[in-house]
C-alpha cells in the first residue's frame, strides 16, 4: 500500500462559515494529510487575521498558510494606517488579490469571516480562481460535497448564536463521517461585537451517525457487562 509520504501536505478538509443574528460562527475539522497518511490529526484550520477577522483554510496547507500570513501582515499595516480595526470586506479583498493574481500557482479555498462595526457579521467565500462571494453561509473543502443538501434543508436566516454553532458542529461532524480527507476534532470560532470565542469538540464527543457505534474501552468491557452470550454468532 503506497502511503505516498512525499505527497504535498493537503488539508482535505471541511470548512464552514455561518452568519447569525449578531455575528458569525466559523467551523472546521482538524485533519491534515500527506497522501494517505494523516500528518496532523489536530490541526487548527481557523486562522486569525486580525482581532475581529478569521479565515478558514482548505486545500494545500502550505499555500493557505502563506496567503494568510501575507494578509495578516498587510492587515496589520492597514490597521495602523487606518487607526481602527480593519473591516471584513477589506480582509476578504486582500485575500482575493493574492488568490486571483496567483491563480495559476495557488491551490487553496478560503472562507473569511468576522465582525466589524459597519456591516456586523459577514462571511466571504473565496474558492479556487479568486472569485469573492459574500454569502449568508459558506462551505468549502472536500468534505463540503456532502453538506450541500444538508445546508439547503437545515439553514435558516437569523439563527441565535447557539443554533448557529450547533448547526456548524453537526455539519462538520456529518462531513467527517463520510469524507476520508476530513477528521479529528471540530473547532469553532464565534466572532461578534463582544469578541472572539474558540471552542473544541473532540471526535469522541460528537453525535453518532448511521452505522457508527458507541466507542468502548475494550471488548472485555462488553463481555463483562452481562447480557446473554455477546460472543455468540
Amino acid at each position: 500500500m503506497d502511503l505516498n509520504l512525499d505527497a504535498p501536505h493537503s488539508m482535505g478538509t471541511t470548512i464552514i462559515g455561518v452568519t447569525y443574528n449578531g455575528g458569525v460562527v466559523l467551523g472546521a475539522d482538524s485533519r491534515t494529510s500527506t497522501g494517505m497518511y494523516v500528518a496532523n490529526r489536530a490541526s487548527d484550520k481557523i486562522t486569525q487575521l486580525t482581532d475581529n477577522v478569521y479565515v478558514c483554510r482548505s486545500g494545500s496547507a502550505a499555500d493557505s498558510q502563506v496567503v494568510s500570513d501575507y494578509v495578516r501582515y498587510f492587515l496589520h499595516q492597514h490597521t495602523i494606517q487606518l487607526g481602527q480595526p480593519a473591516t471584513v470586506k477589506v480582509s476578504a479583498n486582500l485575500i482575493r488579490m493574492l488568490a486571483y493574481n496567483n491563480k495559476n500557482m495557488l491551490q487553496t479555498g478560503l472562507i473569511v469571516g468576522g465582525w466589524d462595526k459597519y456591516e456586523g457579521g459577514k462571511i466571504y467565500g473565496i474558492p479556487l480562481g479568486g472569485t469573492v462571494v459574500e454569502q449568508p453561509f459558506a462551505i468549502g473543502g472536500s468534505g463540503s460535497s456532502y453538506l450541500y443538501g444538508f445546508f439547503d434543508q437545515a439553514w435558516k436566516e437569523n439563527m441565535t448564536k447557539e443554533e448557529a454553532e450547533q448547526l456548524v458542529v453537526k455539519a462538520v461532524s456529518l462531513a467527517i463521517a463520510r469524507d476520508g480527507a476530513s477528521g479529528g476534532v471540530v473547532r469553532t470560532v464565534i466572532i461578534n461585537s463582544e469578541g472572539v470565542t474558540r471552542n473544541f469538540y473532540p471526535g469522541d464527543k460528537l453525535q453518532l451517525w448511521h452505522e457508527e457505534l458507541e466507542p468502548q474501552n475494550s471488548l472485555l468491557d462488553i463481555l463483562n457487562a452481562a447480557g446473554p452470550e455477546p460472543m455468540a454468532i
Binding site: Y100, N101, P127
Partner: protein, 245 residues
C-alpha cells in the same frame, strides 16, 4: 491546451499588474447570457448561477452589471475574471468622470475598450475566460455587442453566449423583430431562458432581466420561471418499449 513555459516576472505579490499568468482553465463559471434590442433600448437576461465544475455551487451571483450611465455588461465564463473586468471598468469610468467635461463613456466606447483588453490578453496566451455582452443606449441610439475570450467582437440586434448560442439564437432569429415592446421583449427572453433551463445542465431556475434605456439601468429582482412537464409522452415514456428511456 497546455502552456507550461514558466516565466519569472519578479515578485508576483508586489507586481500584480505585470505578473504573467497563463489561465489554463476556469473554476467558477457562469452560463449563458441572452440579450436583445427592443423599442426603448436593450434587454439582457441571465441566471444567477456560479458553477464549480458540475456542482451548482453559487446561486446568487449577479452576472449583469451597470457600467457608467449608458451601458450594461453581462458575462459568462470565469467569475473571478469578470470581477477583475469590473475593476478595470470602474477605473475607466472613474477617470472618465474626473474629466468632468460633460461627456460620458457610451456603450460603443466601453465595447471597444473591452475588445482591446480581451484581444490583447489572448495574444499573450493569458485570456480572461469570459464571453461578454455589452448593451446600452446613448443619445437615442441603442447598442448591443459581444466580445469573446479570444477577442472576437461584433454587434447585432440579438446576442447570446455559451449554450445560448445553440439554443437561444435560433429562437431569436425566428421571432425577433425591430421595435419590440417591453412586454414582448421580456416574453421572448423568457422563452429562451426556459429552453436553456430545460436543456443546459449548468442553468439554474433563478434569473434576472436587466433593462437599459435612455433613462438608465434597471435590474429586476431575482425570480423563477414555471416549467411544463405535462406532455402525455412524459407521463409514460417507456410504455411501448420497456427498458427504453
Amino acid at each position: 491546451m497546455t502552456f507550461t513555459i514558466p516565466i519569472d516576472n519578479g515578485d508576483a505579490l508586489k507586481n500584480a499588474e505585470t505578473d504573467s499568468q497563463r489561465t489554463l482553465y476556469p473554476y467558477v463559471t457562469g452560463t449563458s447570457i441572452v440579450a436583445i434590442k427592443y423599442k426603448d433600448g436593450v434587454l439582457m437576461a441571465s441566471d444567477m448561477g456560479g458553477s464549480y465544475g458540475s456542482t451548482l455551487r453559487y446561486k446568487n451571483i449577479e452576472r449583469v452589471k451597470a457600467i457608467g450611465k449608458h451601458s450594461l455588461l453581462g458575462a459568462s465564463g470565469e467569475i473571478s475574471d469578470f470581477q477583475e473586468i469590473l475593476r478595470y471598468l470602474d477605473e475607466l469610468v472613474l477617470n472618465d468622470n474626473m474629466w468632468d467635461d460633460g461627456n460620458s463613456l457610451g456603450p460603443k466606447e466601453v465595447h471597444n475598450y473591452l475588445t482591446r483588453v480581451m484581444y490583447n490578453r489572448r495574444n499573450k496566451f493569458n485570456p480572461l475566460w469570459n464571453t461578454l455582452v455589452l448593451g446600452g443606449v446613448k443619445n437615442g441610439q441603442s447598442y448591443l455587442g459581444m466580445v469573446s475570450m479570444i477577442g472576437v467582437s461584433f454587434e447585432d440586434n440579438h446576442v447570446a453566449t455559451g449554450f445560448g448560442n445553440h439554443l437561444a439564437r435560433p429562437i431569436l432569429r425566428d421571432e425577433w423583430h425591430a421595435d419590440l415592446s417591453f412586454e414582448d421583449g421580456v416574453k421572448l427572453l423568457e422563452k429562451c431562458m426556459r429552453v436553456l433551463l430545460y436543456r443546459d445542465r449548468s442553468a439554474i431556475n433563478k434569473l434576472q432581466i436587466a433593462k437599459i434605456t435612455e433613462e438608465g439601468v434597471t435590474v429586476s429582482q431575482p425570480y423563477s420561471l414555471k416549467t411544463f412537464w405535462e406532455f402525455q409522452a412524459f407521463h409514460n415514456p417507456t410504455a411501448g418499449a420497456q427498458g427504453s428511456w
